[in-house]
Symmetry: C2
Subunit: 361 residues, 2 copies
């Protein structure tokens, strides 16, 4: 099956270090090379490779044939220099948001790609590393930025001074005009809480995410407010870091703070919710949702696993990334557009991890 490793004796020889002054030392073909071979001017070549430019059919044929012969490809770097458009956008994510963003990333890239735009990816260990990231983006003359990491007002100002449109993904900067695409975290939490309370839960625990995560803050705040509005008093709040282990730790912490377990646990994301469920079942022998209801947020893949079947709010990733991409492109093409915020409601998923009120028909 893995035959063929020994045979095929030739062809390797051809690929050894190409020291011999063969033709291989030649640089990549440029439009001048093509022009020369085709016997036309460089500008003609340039025009043939431009969608809207004027060129006769004969010209096209001659140039294309020469180009193919030379393996010519327009140099996007040079083009970017003269046109002042790199056709690249920066996508910035921070590492902490793990299981959810990959999906987003693929979506964004795909959609940009369909529109002829390339994605320069920036990831940061900590959101504080953004300073240098920012510098990089600017040096690379990106045409726009989508950030799923928080920027300070000063940082945003730097980018805007360079007249680069920025779209915030699931974040926003209070008091400052920015373009953003978000999932309505508070609304989602309020729904979850409403259902839980309506189903008779009285004793609540909340597992919040990292302190520097705006998304987590919004979720926690939404849940707390709704709980207060509904007159619920018995609320324990502990914090985690969005990770599975921290979900387990959080649940055990919750138990230790009270003689009896809570009726319901509201986790700031699905992964921690899963951690809570595992901890509840394994270490305390509690049943989910009979003894304790657990809800999450995000709607990531594992939320659907039968062992968890989470009640959660799913972010409409597809629509959100489409919105982000088209909004960014709008701003790039028309920089004077006034800022716009698009807020999507999440999909409400009545999984089996919580006792919720009957669906209102």
């Amino acid at each position: 099956m893995e035959a063929g490793f020994e045979e095929w004796p030739v062809s390797k020889a051809e690929r050894k270090p190409k020291d011999n002054g063969e033709k291989s030392t030649r640089k990549r073909a440029t439009s001048y090379d093509v022009a020369e071979l085709a016997g036309v001017s460089q500008s003609a070549v340039s025009r043939v490779f431009q969608p809207g430019a004027s060129a006769s059919k004969e010209m096209r044929d001659r140039v294309m044939s020469a180009a193919n012969k030379l393996g010519y490809r327009p140099n996007a770097i040079a083009r970017g220099l003269i046109t002042q458009r790199s056709n690249m956008v920066a996508v910035v994510i921070s590492k902490q948001t793990n299981l959810y963003y990959p999906e987003v990333l693929v979506q964004l890239t795909q959609r940009f790609s369909e529109r002829g735009i390339r994605v320069l990816l920036f990831t940061m260990e900590h959101e504080s590393d953004i300073e240098s990231t920012l510098e990089q983006m600017l040096q690379y003359q990106v045409d726009g930025v989508i950030t799923a990491a928080m920027l300070s007002a000063e940082q945003l100002a730097i980018i805007e001074k360079a007249e680069i449109p920025v779209i915030f993904y699931n974040r926003t900067l209070p008091e400052i005009l920015v373009n953003s695409v978000r999932c309505d975290q508070e609304e989602g939490e309020r729904w979850l809480v409403g259902e839980l309370v309506a189903a008779g839960h009285k004793k609540f625990a909340i597992v919040s995410g990292p302190e520097d995560s705006q998304v987590s803050m919004e979720r926690t705040r939404g849940a707390l407010q709704k709980l207060r509005e509904l007159g619920v008093k018995d609320i324990t709040v502990v914090s985690g870091d969005y990770g599975y282990a921290s979900g387990r730790a959080a649940f055990s912490e919750i138990l230790s703070r009270s003689v009896s377990p809570p009726d319901a646990v509201i986790a700031a994301n699905d992964v921690m919710a899963i951690g809570c469920i595992d901890e509840a079942r394994e270490s305390s022998g509690l049943r989910v949702p009979e003894d304790v209801s657990v809800v999450g947020f995000d709607g990531v893949g594992p939320a659907r696993f039968a062992a968890y079947n989470l009640s959660t709010v799913r972010q409409p990733v597809g629509r959100m990334s489409e919105a982000a991409v088209s909004m960014l492109i709008d701003r790039i093409e028309n920089p004077d557009l006034t800022p716009e915020k698009r807020v999507f409601s999440g999909d409400r998923i009545r999984g089996g991890s919580a006792r919720l009120a009957e669906e209102s028909a």
Copy 2:
């Protein structure tokens, strides 16, 4: 907690559409602008921004102060044009490999970033879309490529003709010299099979991945070979697509092919293994691992969830990406290096989803 939302009334006015012919219409500052303001030549500015170049302290100070005043940043595009080095590499992934690659992606980007290299991300719905992706990469003059999608020999040849180093990530091209970084899939499967057989399993089922996935093929082949070597005859093979649902479907398919369930199921990745477990427990009331052992491959996050606690082989993502990055940089800096393959063994994880032989002390 959320104080400060109402106050802060000013500052918005400053940010409205900057129509007034203020100073804002000015383009980005160039090295010429800086040179002029500092009263020196453009080359001096260029040198100040180069690590190794010669410039007196006084010169540095004057230039830097002028640069700061103007908010100057070297234009990486222009620099790339003249130096023939874009300092960008392409990372290519295909969408199908979902839950696992995100991690890889973040790792790669981070490590490149530490070395002053930016990542242009390319994703493809189907691996067949690679043709156009390839074209894009070449136009953008990337200095190197890491591909986690399969390339044909012809496609590889195109890239190599442009003298761009390529590293295959978990893939390889038989009979052709390429640089690659891989996890040893066969070895991992052989270990799993060995343990399962040693523990007394007799009736096996294999859930393979997508047909066009080389990784899946290697895993399946490894498992099958080892099974044959050990004289196991009773083997059912069904195929999935790496997704959770397909794991569930696969298990139910396995059941339908035989009167009794298998002793052990070998899934080509963790997510399908999880699907199998859920299907076994839920639809058939089978216990895992008492009635049926299930093993996966990859070592993704959910494999550690208590409900599954998979026995699996974890790919050493950190070391693999480090290897890929440093290998690619080596090739970029020394194009004549002879190809190299680095193969890593996976971490053997004895989870609770399978009855394995006692650990050999």
